[in-house]
């Protein structure tokens, strides 16, 4: 399935068209108050007084992504795997241009978007207003939001058990909330789409529906990135896999090969 799409999206000279190029990307987080457990007021004061070469002592650096390079092409669906804390989500944010890189560059075709609208939604507002707010936050126009509103609500299935869309979102169960969030996020067409663990939400029926939607988005989008701990959903949706460990790119290749090596390594 994947190869069919890939083949008809080649450039004139037969080369595949790159959509995302990561060139030796390093990302460093600076964490306040993480140093050595010294949390007292006097310790904080001494940190301010004694400074080392412009770097204040209270700041601890976390090198989350270390020199990752790869090129993604139009029509590819790329899975990111790795154990917790291996830098998968951080790398996605850097590709989306949401996290500044410490060194190295990310080149992209158009504006990549992260399928994560959660942060813009507010639990105190009704589902209805959150659909509108989330749509606007993703950069849709008011007309687009109005057009797609019914589709979003129907897709989420929130109203299947009664009129829940007019209730504040904080009253939703975690599954219902996740379904609405996914539905809002998936409503927009993207050039480069990045999905972070979105498939693990909802019941079996909704998972099937969202996998179907991701395949649709993939057809419209140039390139899809998917972070997941479910090897089966990576197998179902991706044709290429990047394996990150401790911020480094351990392996980059076709899904089967990489997943096999990953399962061997993690003992599954």
């Amino acid at each position: 399935m994947a190869d069919l799409e890939k083949n008809d999206k080649r450039a004139d000279d037969g080369a595949r068209v790159p959509t995302v190029i990561a060139d030796d990307v390093h990302i460093v987080y600076r964490v306040l108050g993480g140093s050595g457990g010294r949390g007292s007021a006097t310790a904080a004061l001494s940190r301010i007084v004694r400074r080392d070469k412009g770097e204040s002592r209270g700041v601890r650096k976390v090198h989350a992504v270390r020199g990752v390079s790869f090129t993604a092409y139009r029509g590819e669906a790329i899975g990111l795997i790795g154990t917790n804390g291996s830098g998968k989500s951080t790398l996605l944010r850097a590709i989306a241009g949401l996290l500044p890189t410490e060194s190295g560059k990310v080149y992209t075709d158009g504006q990549p978007s992260l399928l994560g609208v959660n942060a813009a939604l507010m639990g105190d507002l009704t589902g209805e207003r959150n659909v509108i707010l989330g749509g606007l936050a993703m950069g849709m126009t008011r007309e687009e939001v109005r057009e797609r509103y019914q589709g979003i609500v129907d897709f989420s299935g929130i109203n299947e058990k009664g009129d829940f869309i007019t209730l504040p979102m904080r009253t939703y169960s975690s599954g219902m909330g996740a379904r609405l969030r996914f539905s809002i996020a998936a409503a927009k067409d993207h050039d480069v789409l990045m999905i972070d663990e979105a498939l693990a939400t909802g019941d079996r029926k909704f998972q099937k529906r969202s996998e179907q939607r991701i395949r649709e988005l993939r057809k419209e989008a140039g390139t899809v990135f998917l972070v997941s701990h479910s090897n089966s959903s990576i197998r179902d949706t991706c044709d290429r896999v990047l394996w990150l460990e401790k911020g480094e790119l351990l392996m980059d290749g076709p899904t089967d090969e990489v997943i096999k090596a990953y399962e061997k390594e993690t003992g599954r």
């Binding site: 080369a15 595949r16 390079s69 949401l98 500044p100 990310v106 959660n118 105190d124």
Partner: protein, 309 residues
């Protein structure tokens, strides 16, 4: 190489391609790829921001609604909060301390309440600005939009909050004998200028606060000093008549005092031009333009760095 990998990684599928041998930068240039997360030019930035105007408005309204949605009285608190605020100041400064020497009661009460409301508008915009980026890192790290949308949205939320306060203020003014007249229309340009000033302040504070979140702890003290120095609960010229004249001049020309005085002048019958410093509209306009433009440019300069943790 079609699958560019770092040293040590295993490239398992290498296909021949005419792009072999290009560096990543050359490859990006060949296909017209742009650097992700780079800061757009100022004109482009303004264009993007304009494109997000509906989001800015919706976000500010959502924040405003969410504020009181768990309270039983709900949105009634939008009006009740400023009313109670005014009552507290009246009790302390009007009845107990009596700083109103020389100001008749029907002037002093609306004078005080106007001062409190107008200053609160600037104060809460500044405070919201400090936390506009640092308090919304989740949003900044999840979605793409010109970051200036956040401080502007927070300033806009405070403007809407102020409109509720203005209703209370009108009632108080009428209650103390200042009836609606043509000069009330002057409130509109005065508030518009103050809003531009506040937005500029919010953007400056947002950039500072994104780098140094500690400002959120420090700002209440600075704001309180500013409030007492701006003549919220007393008339600056009357209070400082024994001191050198330049102190009163400086205090009267500070932006908070300027906007307060303009709205008092527009609203209150017994508060005439003799209470205003000279060239007050020029100052009101100047402060707004200066802070509006400087704040916007200052905020935009660090656009690509917001969101770094």
């Amino acid at each position: 190489m079609s699958d560019t990998t770092q040293d040590g990684a295993i490239a398992t599928s290498v296909r021949p391609s005419p792009d072999d041998g290009l560096t990543p930068a050359e490859l990006a240039a060949k296909y017209g790829l742009s650097v992700s997360g780079a800061r757009p030019g100022l004109a482009e930035y303004i264009r993007q921001l304009w494109g997000r105007r509906h989001f800015i408005l919706a976000f500010s309204q959502a924040k405003l609604t969410a504020q009181y949605s768990q309270a039983k009285l709900g949105q009634l608190w939008q009006v009740a909060t400023p009313l109670l605020n005014a009552l507290v100041y009246y009790l302390i400064f009007g009845l107990i301390l009596g700083t109103r020497e020389g100001i008749p009661n029907e002037v002093f009460v609306p004078f005080l309440v106007t001062g409190v409301f107008v200053f609160t508008f600037t104060q809460s915009s500044v405070m919201a600005g400090v936390r506009a980026i640092s308090g919304n890192l989740g949003l900044v790290r999840a979605l793409h939009f010109p970051r200036a949308a956040l401080p502007i949205s927070f300033a806009l939320q405070q403007l809407q909050q102020l409109l509720f306060s203005m209703l209370v203020l009108f009632l108080i003014a009428i209650g103390f004998g200042s009836y609606p007249k043509l000069s009330w229309l002057l409130i509109l340009p005065a508030l518009a200028l103050q809003f531009v000033f506040n937005t500029g302040m919010a953007m400056i504070m947002a950039r500072l606060g994104s780098k140094t979140p500690d400002l959120a702890q420090l700002m209440p003290f600075i704001m309180r000093t500013w409030m007492y120095a701006s003549g919220v609960m007393f008339s600056i010229p009357m209070m400082l008549k024994d001191k050198p004249a330049w102190i009163a001049d400086v205090l009267q020309w500070n932006p908070a005092a300027i906007y307060m005085d303009l709205i008092r002048f527009a609203l209150i019958d017994g508060y005439g031009t003799e209470n205003l410093p000279p060239h007050i509209w020029a100052f009101a306009l100047g402060w707004a333009i200066l802070f509006g433009i400087a704040g916007f440019v200052y905020f935009w300069k660090a656009e690509e760095r917001y969101g770094r943790g």
